[in-house]
Amino acid sequence: MVSVEFLGPIQMEKKEFNVQSVRELKDELYKIPELEDWLESLAVAVNDKIITSLDTPLKDGDKVVLLPPVCGG
């Protein structure tokens, strides 16, 4: 299982998914109505490295975080 954490303003508890790649995770995330408005503006980090390819493989125990638009300072 892969744990997925929703950061900042996304009001959703951490979830676990049984997926082998970020592409598979994407398909799962599209099934969650509350995420609909967020998905296209999210960045994705796997084990605390931001990734840029949907083909990034995921394995059991990986930790994914989803990062909505930022504004520090």
Binding site: L7, A43, I50, P68, P69, C71, G73
Partner: protein
């Protein structure tokens, strides 16, 4: 002072106390210019304050490249939680031998911070915590799920 200088505070940063410590730690290290940046919460749109979430693992990772500069030293502090009007949520200082590198790094660092630091801002208004989505920008790597 070889270690990373990234400090995180719950609530407003004790600006003067932090500057005092940074200044006294580094003033004899041969830097000719210290340029702090102090981000103060403004009383815009009738807010009582701002509030912040941050994701420390990626914030530290982001800061590492600035910590590795050879010709400059950068120290930084940021708040999480509530920061009221007139308080400071972001403080950094650029240390360089000469002023012109200092100007350059200050601008580069703060703009990079604004675009890339994993921090989320909320307005505190009428006792509510409202995501400041109008001022937020997707990270440069965002969009692969779109």
């Amino acid at each position: 002072m070889d270690n990373m200088i990234l400090e995180i505070y719950k609530g407003g940063i004790p600006v003067i106390e932090v500057l005092d410590r940074w200044y006294n730690d580094l003033k004899l290290e041969g830097y000719g210019a210290m340029i702090p940046f102090i981000g103060i919460v403004r009383p815009d749109n009738g807010i009582e304050g701002l509030s912040f979430d941050l994701y420390l693992p990626l914030l530290s990772e982001w800061f590492k490249k600035w910590n590795a500069l050879k010709e400059a030293k950068i120290t930084m502090a940021h708040s999480f939680g509530d920061v009221m009007v007139g308080e400071t949520s972001f403080l950094c200082a650029i240390w360089t031998k000469h002023r012109r590198e200092g100007f350059k790094y200050l601008e580069e660092f703060v703009e990079d911070f604004k675009a890339n630091a994993p921090i989320w801002k909320y307005d505190l208004k009428n006792g509510k915590r409202i995501f400041a989505g109008d001022r937020a920008k997707p990270l440069p790597e965002a969009g692969i799920l779109g």
